[in-house]
Subunit: 126 residues, 2 copies
């Protein structure tokens, strides 16, 4: 058995200035932009509060700008296998997470569970 | 004065089969896929429950697959003007909504407010 759930949405921005990108999205969405002490401040800003505890982040990236979603899980390899069985493809492993591509074409990430209350709210897969 | 807030995220899928696309995302995220009686069933499926009342939808599109966000407002023209002042560009009007492009490159939509409790939760812009 393992668990997983939608963890959040990441606004990937091809930019040299994460502060400027986060300032736009913070103002556009009426949310606060916060540097997360757990993350590289030159690459990430959190937008708060995320609805229902959802993680919203602005990320500086080198690839084209887009929006992607993260699935969090207590077992990354088991979750990647479950998603492969549904038709998704593993693209690459980066640090502790895995980048995947949906059969409908979007890139998304499978990451280690980090949300409060994950054990109670996540879906169980037997 | 007008109001706006983040309304939700739409998973745009270039596919001939909205049912198959929605089935993947429903299974991947552990959410229910529901045909919305307000919408064209050949183009849209809702994924429920969205965290914190956020709207999550799978949409059949003709352009490339991506994920985009919607901002809902009680005054579409005023909100488009506010976002233009922040650096976003108006791309096109479609039905009652406006497609925009962020200065960081992502497309997003400004739509008429539809969420329950919008008047209480939305941000006020003077």
């Amino acid at each position: 058995m393992h668990r997983s759930q939608l963890a959040g949405f990441i606004i990937d921005c091809r930019t040299g200035d994460i502060g400027e990108a986060a300032e736009f999205w913070s103002s556009a969405l009426g949310l606060s932009s916060v540097a997360d002490p757990r993350s590289d401040a030159t690459r990430y800003r959190r937008l708060e509060p995320g609805p229902g505890g959802l993680e919203l982040e602005v990320q500086r990236v080198d690839h084209e700008s887009r929006v992607h979603l993260d699935i969090e899980t207590d077992n990354v390899e088991a979750e990647v296998g479950r998603l492969e069985a549904l038709g998704a493809k593993r693209v690459e492993s980066v640090h502790s997470w895995v980048v995947m591509e949906a059969p409908t074409g979007q890139r998304f990430c499978v990451v280690r569970a980090f949300s409060k209350g994950f054990d109670d709210s996540a879906r169980r897969w037997e």
